[in-house]
């Protein structure tokens, strides 16, 4: 499989008034096309910073980031970034919210609009297109936010604790939804979470990050898919007996850090 993302020895040092803070140290990582990589670690280990660097919002102090072989300088059009909150604009309808990314990038072509509307239809938000975000449930809003990101047809998706603002039940359901969406369009995704089960249930690989400064501690390949090539949802993956094994391994590793 083709390599989409490569991080080479990325470090980030913040300059603050009372000294220097090393958020990330010699962080190297690759992601292949269609692969989902989860990044788990204690809070404050620089997980979100890592995504900001990949997205080009922040330049790394040292090291390089490559996207499809090109070095990332500035915000890249190949990346779709989903934040913790849906960040839908209250004064816009769902349709208009979903088109915001295209609008900002100056890509509001008939073709792209049709694609976005297609996504609304496919993911069950079509009848809510003319409603305002306040009229939708949390899960639906998060789905709208995902469509806003997907509408720009990114090569790589970054999910930054994208489900943690939802209540538990909605969260499980939305995780399933998002997983299916990612798999159906074959998107590569980097999923940052502090929720170990969520990471295991969604990812092909789980990267454990040590506490400050953030370093790659270990990488676990997750094999929970049922044989036969059928899509196994995160909920089904959670039911796999090996799930607990992965959980315990990763849990212990995280625990040893502290």
């Amino acid at each position: 499989m083709r390599e989409i993302l490569r991080l080479e020895d990325v470090s980030l040092v913040y300059q603050a008034e009372n000294g220097e803070v090393t958020a990330l140290e010699n962080f190297s990582l690759t992601a292949l096309e269609g692969e989902q990589v989860a990044i788990v670690g204690p809070s404050g280990c620089g997980k979100s910073t890592l995504l900001s660097i990949i997205a080009g919002l922040e330049p790394p102090t040292h090291g390089k980031v490559y996207l499809e072989g090109e070095q990332v300088r500035g915000v890249s059009e190949k990346i779709g970034y989903m934040l913790q909150k849906d960040n839908l604009l209250q004064w816009r309808t769902i349709r208009s919210n979903v088109l915001l990314g295209l609008e900002i990038r100056g890509m509001l072509t008939a073709e792209n609009i049709a694609y976005a509307e297609d996504l609304l239809q496919t993911y069950g938000l079509w009848e809510f297109a003319d409603k305002y975000p306040s009229q939708l449930s949390g899960g639906m809003r998060q789905r709208a936010a995902l469509i806003r990101t997907l509408a720009t047809q990114p090569k790589l998706l970054l999910l930054d604790e994208a489900f943690s603002a939802l209540d538990y039940q909605t969260r499980l359901a939305v995780t399933d939804d998002v997983f299916e969406i990612l798999k159906s369009v074959g998107k590569t995704a980097i999923i940052v979470t502090h929720d170990i089960p969520e990471g295991i249930s969604m990812a092909d690989r789980v990267v454990v990050v040590s506490g400050r400064p953030g370093r790659v501690k270990s990488i676990h390949k997750i094999e929970l898919d049922a044989s036969g090539g059928q899509l196994t949802t995160p909920l089904q993956r959670r039911a796999n007996p090996r799930f607990t094994h992965y959980f315990n391994t990763i849990w212990k590793e995280l625990d040893l850090n502290e």
Partner: protein, 275 residues
């Protein structure tokens, strides 16, 4: 959530709900009735005491005298003066809003400038702008222009501070979201920051319409050519309390109408935005 609303939409109102709604309506009517009664009582008492000679209607005026002054609007030019005050207020208010927003935008654009300007803004905000009246008259001349500048001066700094505060406290996550799509600063401002602060804008407009009126009246006191402020000063000097009281009454009505106008504009804009 939707279910509840839809059952309410249909005509299946329970007896309890009907009683609750009737109770609310009754409370509302009671308040309104008391408000009107208070006003009527006040006017009646004023008139009766004036006629009985308990209060001196030469000094305190009376409702009937005010009514007579109002009826004589063609003779004393009341309408012209109201028009002038209204015009000056609207121009000063409009300029204050425009220039204030432009300055706030500039300071948002350049955090360096904002930091430089901060102490000056604080001092200018605390300074009673009316104290600048004589200076303004010397600078721009004793006429309508001086009055408008006073109205502007009084509302400008408040607008700048309010808007700048609003811009600065815009939800950081929304801004980050826009940035992930590669938004430029201008796009961030137009698509995220300004629309997020419409409530702040109208809050400041509602305060400023009143402040502009204060500036205009103070200006008219000083310039003394025309307007309700002039009438009040003039009436006081020639001891025509009827004219003073009538002007104050009209001023109250004008203030309420101007505020109502801004509130209406807010409603319209918010509806337009949520289209």
């Amino acid at each position: 959530m939707n279910k509840k609303i839809s059952t309410l939409g249909r005509k299946e109102i329970s007896a309890e709900r009907e009683a609750y709604l009737a109770g609310r309506k009754r409370k509302k009517l009671q308040v309104r009735a008391c408000q009107i009664a208070l006003l009527v009582l006040f006017i009646a008492a004023w008139e009766v005491f004036a006629r009985l000679g308990v209060i001196d209607s030469f000094i305190m005026s009376s409702p009937s005298r005010i009514l007579r002054t109002l009826a004589n609007f063609s003779g004393n030019g009341l309408l012209v003066h109201v028009g002038i005050t209204c015009f000056e207020t609207l121009v000063g208010f409009g300029l204050g809003a425009l220039i204030g927003n432009a300055i706030a935008f500039t300071l948002w654009w350049s955090p360096f400038l904002a930091r430089v300007a901060a102490p000056y803004l604080v001092v200018l905000n605390a300074l009673p702008k009316i104290a600048l009246g004589p200076v303004i008259i010397v600078w721009v001349g004793a006429g309508m222009q001086a009055i408008i500048v006073m109205a502007l001066a009084i509302s400008l700094i408040v607008t700048v501070l309010e808007m700048l505060g609003g811009f600065a406290s815009t939800d950081k996550e929304l801004i980050k979201m826009a940035k992930t799509f590669g938004a430029t600063r201008w796009q961030t401002f137009v698509k995220i920051i300004y629309p997020s602060n419409l409530q702040v804008l109208f809050g400041s407009l509602k305060i400023n319409i009143g402040l502009s009126l204060v500036g205009v009246i103070a200006g008219e006191f000083l310039v003394s050519r025309a307007g309700l402020g002039y009438l009040i000063i003039y009436g006081g000097q020639v001891f025509q309390m009827d004219l003073v009281m009538t002007s104050v009454l009209l001023l109250g009505v004008l203030a309420a109408l101007l505020y109502g106008g801004v509130a209406l504009l807010e409603k319209k804009v918010m509806k337009f935005v949520q289209r």
